[in-house]
């Protein structure tokens, strides 16, 4: 082998090394945009933190799904979540395990019946119940995920699950011509 070809090979190897190093560094440097699989799964879950899947919250279930747990364990997410998970993970969509119940709800404490035991406060996974010992409790409605976990611990059954009113911020109407109703069309 001539010296020239040796130099050529050395150059190529050097170039490959430099490029590889650069790519590796870039990958590490700009990694933030790309989420791991667990994060992607977690992002598809409804975040009610209700534990109906048998795991103590959405993130633990996401971790379990990544490890091979069935994707049909999330009743609040319903059919839509199963389909999205199947799409993401390339698995077969399954029928929902449990009763389908994806109507959004909020907990409501009948405040005159509340005895101030703080049991629901301890049960709430998202700290959406406000109150103190022997004081009336109340639910911060827009932070409640409707997970039902406060119902069982309540010793006086003073918590109801009510359908969630549409959040005011969900309606458009920043300007008056944002369309919400049928308008005229096809008129000449």
């Amino acid at each position: 082998m001539s010296l020239a070809s040796l130099v050529g090979v050395a150059l190529m190897v050097g170039l490959i090394g430099v490029c590889g190093g650069l790519l590796g560094w870039l990958n590490r440097r700009f990694k933030d945009g790309e989420d791991g699989l667990v994060e992607q799964i977690d992002a598809l879950l409804p975040q009610t933190q209700c534990g109906q899947c048998g795991y103590p919250g959405c993130r633990p279930y996401a971790e379990a799904v990544e490890q091979g747990e069935a994707i049909n364990r999330c009743p609040p997410g319903g059919e839509a979540t199963i389909l999205e998970l199947a799409e993401l993970l390339g698995r077969e969509p399954l029928a929902l395990d449990g009763d389908a119940d994806d109507t959004p709800r909020v907990a409501f404490i009948r405040e005159d019946e509340c005895i101030g035991c703080t049991k629901c406060i301890q049960a709430c996974p998202v700290d959406a119940i406000l109150g103190a010992s022997k004081m009336m409790h109340t639910v911060i409605a827009h932070e409640c995920t409707g997970c039902d976990l406060c119902i069982a611990p309540c010793p006086v059954d003073c918590i109801d699950m009510l359908p969630r009113e549409p959040h005011p911020h969900w309606t458009p109407g920043i300007i008056a011509s944002d369309r919400t109703t049928e308008t005229l069309h096809g008129s000449t």
């Binding site: 700290d127 911020h169 458009p172 008056a176 109703t181 308008t183 005229l184 069309h185 000449t188």
Partner: protein
């Protein structure tokens, strides 16, 4: 590169069809009739937004029933960040703080200030402001105090637009006098009669925003208005030019007009201020002139009354809160001929269900149409993929494709195809041979997407709150453990003193990994600092309250983690010193 890019952009702009349609304008009904002032109504109803549906628009009444108010006196103050104060539009006694609304589906009472006129025409205006000496912020504050909303139909608070334009240091103020909607001739008449007020208002806004140039865009079917403006251009303190553009609906769309006048194209999600432009309607500018130079708050507006069911159509200057019925009867309404009343123009307007509704700042026209004039739309038929809507779209979209996606429930695909560039002008509806309600379908699809986005933001917040709770529980457990260790250590020390002679020593468990815990603690500290900085940055950029609350939650998570790491490290150190 920059040269190539500019060349490419100019070629693309030339190649792109402008879109639009040419419906019969029917402006001759009203365009030469001047502005008439109808008799004052006996009662005005000023609608208030109580913030139940749109908290950002909430206003609170500051008058009591029975109280006497003069025209221009404030009757409600702004609470929401997009709200405007409301002023009495007539002098008289406040008779109620709600109105009976026949068109409302369930709650028949809407919050409103109802004033019974006393006929005395007393008024109370703000002090006049010497705008040439005033600071920009004073002018903007005056516009806010006068309660002026955009009068072209959008109704966005004028002072907020101006403030945003000032912050973005725009270079051009565009006066949008295109008035492309059929029937309407308000802007035409306003310019013909009050060109001086409009241009003076434009000069004030230019001063308040720091805009260096003014461009007035007007369609070529309004030669009188154009010449009225041209005669006065020299009076403006900054360079100004008049652009006469061909009549074509919807050239008055903000984005379309900016592209046509200045050649600046706005991409999806960009606002005119991002391109260095602020757009205002002539009526808004005249109102700004009145508010600044005369101190007159927003109490009346000019609007077009048209349609073949009226004997005396024309433009009228009406007090806000006047009922539609009052205005139409004064214009000679023939109920036998009336088929329906439309608020706004026939392309973007909405049919009105009850004539007892009052007019608001955004009512730029009322069309009392006969059956033959504006027949009800024929039944919609399936899309035949003719593609006629594509050249008609002023935003360069493919409405048929968007419709296809929206009907299939694939809103994301519609979004990827530019759904949010749709201005809902209805040009596609106009040409559609199947009479599909395309524009309102797109409006609904946008709303579905906005709802989905809000839902996912909500889920993110729930996730963060859950993480915060877990972090707090971990911290509490770690602190408990630290206290337990301390107690055990104290007990052991006492025990050691007592059994000093025995020399027995408790064998400690596996040596704690102090180094690992120290690294974890440093990482937690860095994370907390990062969260703090993120919150600070968001606060500086004036993010919305929801975003800030969420970042606060994330900061508290980081702090909990830090406290837990501290506690664990402390336990480990104690154990280390003991063993």
């Amino acid at each position: 590169m920059a040269v190539l890019e500019r060349l490419w952009r100019s070629l693309a702009a030339r190649a792109r069809p402008t879109g639009g349609v040419m419906p019969p304008t029917r402006k001759s009904q009203t365009r030469d009739l001047g502005i008439h002032t109808p008799p004052l109504p006996a009662r005005v109803t000023l609608l208030l937004e109580d913030g139940r549906d749109q908290p950002w628009r909430e206003v609170q009444p500051i008058v009591r029933p029975g109280q006497y108010v003069r025209a221009g006196e404030p009757v409600a103050r702004a609470v929401g960040h997009l709200a405007l104060p409301v002023h009495a539009s007539i002098s008289g006694h406040v008779s109620a703080l709600c109105m009976h609304d026949e068109s409302a589906p369930d709650g028949q009472h809407r919050p409103a200030v109802v004033i019974d006129a006393d006929g005395a025409s007393q008024h109370q205006w703000l002090p006049a402001l010497d705008w040439q000496a005033a600071l920009p912020d004073e002018i903007i504050q005056r516009i806010a105090d006068a309660g002026i909303a955009g009068m072209g139909g959008g109704g966005f608070p004028a002072h907020l637009k101006i403030r945003a334009a000032r912050q973005a240091s725009i270079d051009t103020l565009v006066v949008n006098a295109a008035e492309c909607e059929p029937y309407l001739s308000v802007d035409d008449q306003t310019l013909r009669r009050y060109a001086d007020r409009v241009l003076s208002g434009a000069a004030m806004v230019a001063r308040a925003t720091g805009a260096a140039a003014i461009v007035i865009g007007i369609e070529d079917d309004k030669p009188e208005a154009a010449s009225a403006v041209r005669d006065r251009l020299g009076e403006l303190p900054c360079p100004a030019r008049l652009e006469v553009i061909p009549t074509r609906y919807p050239s008055g769309g903000e984005r379309q007009l900016i592209e046509r006048l200045l050649g600046r194209r706005l991409s999806t999600g960009q606002l005119p201020v991002d391109a260095g432009v602020l757009c205002h309607n002539p009526g808004t500018l005249a109102a700004i002139h009145d508010a600044v130079a005369l101190g007159k708050p927003m109490i009346e507006r000019t609007l077009t009354l048209a349609g073949r069911a009226l004997d005396r159509p024309g433009n009228v200057s009406a007090r806000l809160g006047t009922t539609i019925e009052h205005l139409l009867i004064d214009a000679g309404l023939d109920r036998a001929r009336l088929s329906r009343v439309i608020e706004g123009g026939p392309m973007m307007g909405q049919a009105i269900s009850s004539l007892s509704q009052p007019i608001t700042q955004t009512t730029n026209g009322l069309i009392a149409a006969t059956e033959t004039e504006l027949p009800p739309p024929p039944r919609a038929r399936p899309c035949i993929r003719c593609g006629d809507c594509q050249p008609a779209c002023p935003a360069g979209l493919a409405p048929q494709q968007l419709w296809w996606h929206a009907q299939a429930g694939e809103d994301q695909k519609a979004e990827a195809n530019g759904l949010f560039d749709c201005i809902e002008c209805g040009a596609c509806d106009y040409v559609c041979p199947s009479h599909l309600p395309l524009a309102s379908g797109f409006g609904e699809a946008k709303q579905r997407l906005r709802t989905a986005r809000a839902e996912s933001a909500r889920a993110d917040q729930a996730r963060h709150r859950f993480e915060a709770r877990q972090a707090r529980e971990q911290r509490e457990a770690a602190e408990r453990e630290a206290r337990r260790q301390a107690r055990r250590q104290a007990a052991a020390r006492r025990g050691q003193q007592r059994d000093a002679t025995s020399g027995s020593k408790e064998t400690s468990a596996a040596a704690p990994d102090v180094r690992g815990l120290r690294i974890a603690q440093a990482a937690a500290k860095a994370a907390a600092r990062k969260a703090e900085k993120a919150l600070e940055r968001a606060a500086q950029q004036q993010e919305s309250a929801d975003v800030l609350a969420d970042l606060e939650t994330q900061l508290s998570i980081a702090r909990e983690h830090l406290a837990a790491a501290d506690a664990r490290l402390k336990t480990a150190r104690q154990e280390e010193t003991r063993s």
